[in-house]
Amino acid sequence: MVKPDRLTDLECAVVVQDLTVAYKEKPVLWDIDLKIPKGVLLAIVGPNGAGKTTLLRSIMGMIKPAAGNVAIFGQSIAAKKRSIGYMPQRGTVDWDFPTDALDVVMMGRYGHIGWFKRPSVNDKKLSLEALDRVGMADFASRPLNQLSGGQQQRVFLARALVQDADLYFMDEPFVGVDAVTEQAIIELLKELRNQSKTVVVVHHDLQTLADYFDWVSLLNVRQIAYGSVADVLTPENLKITYGGRSSFLMHNPVIT
């Protein structure tokens, strides 16, 4: 496997340089450098409040960084919005919203449909296919609030799939799903990777990290370590990431 710092920008789906992000005056991400090559399954790992969601959102241009650059396929984010798929962290929507599974999935097509137009027959077909891929075809017309937590997660995954992107960001897709669903989801993500799409996943379970992902970035305000799972997951790195707030801060990033 190529070492991250040897990657040329051409091989990368995402290049993040010296990214610093602050809400109000409080910095949440410090000086992140991250090169994500095309066609990998990458996990972002870190404790609660580490800034994982913030990192995803600032890569996608939803937050203006205090400093640093983000390039997506060598271009600015604004030019590449269409090639991004996103599955937000659970709990950002009102589950009692009057809508059904198919309708939610169809929202993933809105970016492609264009202003003033309605979803076409083709959009509907694609959405049904996506529902089928996540094993939810039978639930297409089920109201959102009558789906279980895991089923809701699958619907949101389908919504990201239907965006038909080259680069996917998934914020904790495995939260609240059982082992079987988790397997199904990871199979899907691997399938995407095999179609040479790039998938970035915020993940919490260290046990499954090696099975699921090619690369991992340990994050806690700073990037603690970045590289292949085997290289990065050392007890020392984990201690820096998870142990106490100040211990990691004096530490220079490890690039393996």
Partner: protein, 375 residues
């Protein structure tokens, strides 16, 4: 009252058309207000619009409807901007910002109104009706302006339907796709202000907020589909607008606004209680049958457990033996089962399966087993 209410004279047809327009526009937009959890914003906007009306009158010295609406629109809009800036720049909560803007703007409106009332102009009489609403002061020119606003609202809603839907459901996903979320938010808020301002003359400043909640609350009970909900809310708004105006027209001393609010509240109550699926009665009945069913099923399973230890599955046991293995049956449930011909009791205290009951217990067991091994 009877007949002369129904004879559609000129005034009444104007009033009915007014309540029609009011009902549709507020009903439709109330869906978005409620779903975006901005229910009380309507209260703020309607109060904030009031000084705009009085200022516009002071400016023009006539009750030209377009001018008054425009004044209301601007000051309602300023009110929402103030709420936003208070919430962004201070530690005060949204709730508090609502309270501040609502009461201070309304106070200002009252001050201006009391000033206007001392003026020697003759045209000021109808301004009072903006407080509690009055259908009878509605003129054809008011109606035209209302219709215009309503038309604009519906057109924009049609044009940006899918964007507004996504904006209401999942803002962060929307902004990840590169939609101009802030601009769309502003547009939807302006439409909301329009819908409120448009109803002020009929319903009044004080009660307009109910029109921005109730139709949606009622409609939500009947459907889980946004399009249908918006349509239904418009219909419910329209219906209560018409009924309310008719009643208040028939009984002269009754104010229009409160009457409409009472009618629409009755619709909400009916919907809350009787709607299928989400209605409380339906829920209660479902819950009851669910509990009864579970109890009956668990008894059948227990009896199956017993009969599996015997060679004869129809062997009878005493009730107390069944009680002993927990979740025991009450006599009432057993009698219920007997009525369904699932169990028999040949002797006083001896109970056993019928053929039907045995089969049902076996299928139950099978389905339970497959459920737990589904994945």
């Amino acid at each position: 009252m009877g007949l002369d209410v129904l004879s559609l004279n000129y005034t009444l047809s104007i009033v009915m058309a007014g309540s029609f327009i009011l009902g549709i526009s507020s009903g439709v937009l109330s869906s978005f207000a409620v779903l975006r959890q901005q229910s009380l914003l309507g209260d703020v906007i309607s109060h904030a619009a009031f000084p705009g009306i009085t200022l516009a009158f002071l400016w023009m010295m006539t009750k030209d409807p377009l001018g008054l609406f425009f004044g209301a629109l601007v000051s309602g809009w300023i009110g929402t901007l103030l709420v936003k800036s208070i919430v962004t720049y201070t530690k005060l909560s949204m709730d508090t910002a609502f309270g501040i803007v609502l009461s201070v703007f309304f106070g200002l409106g009252i001050v201006l109104l009391s000033y206007i009332q001392r003026l020697p102009t003759s045209d000021k009489a109808g301004l009072n009706s903006f407080l509690f609403g009055s259908a009878s002061t509605l003129l054809l020119q008011d109606l035209i302006v209302m219709g215009l606003f309503c038309f604009i609202i519906l057109v924009f809603l049609g044009l940006f339907w899918k964007e507004f839907k996504l904006l209401t459901f999942d803002t962060s996903f929307m902004s990840s796709m590169g939609f101009p979320v802030a601009k769309l938010d502003m547009l939807l808020t302006i439409l909301l202000v329009m819908a409120i301002v448009l109803g002020l003359q009929m319903v009044g400043v004080v009660l307009m907020s109910a029109m921005m909640i109730a139709p949606a609350a009622a409609a939500r009970q009947w459907t889980s589909h946004l399009g249908l909900m918006v349509f239904l809310a418009g219909f419910i708004g329209l219906l209560s607008g018409c009924i309310g105006t008719l009643v208040s027209n028939a009984i002269p001393q009754v104010s229009t606004g409160p009457m409409i609010v009472v009618v629409i509240s009755i619709m909400v109550i009916i919907s809350l209680v009787f709607a299928p699926h989400r209605g409380l009665v339906c829920n209660w009945i479902k819950g009851y049958y669910h509990r009864v069913n579970i109890r009956a099923n668990s008894i059948l399973m227990n009896m199956l457990l017993f009969s599996e230890s015997k060679t004869d599955p129809y062997h009878c046991h005493q009730l107390s033996a069944l009680v002993a293995i927990g979740r025991g049956p009450s006599l009432r449930t057993m009698l219920q089962l007997k009525r369904q011909k699932l169990v028999q009791n040949p002797q006083d205290d001896l109970w056993g399966f019928t053929e039907l009951g045995y089969k049902k217990a076996l299928t139950l067991k099978k389905s339970l087993y497959s459920q737990s091994h589904e994945h």
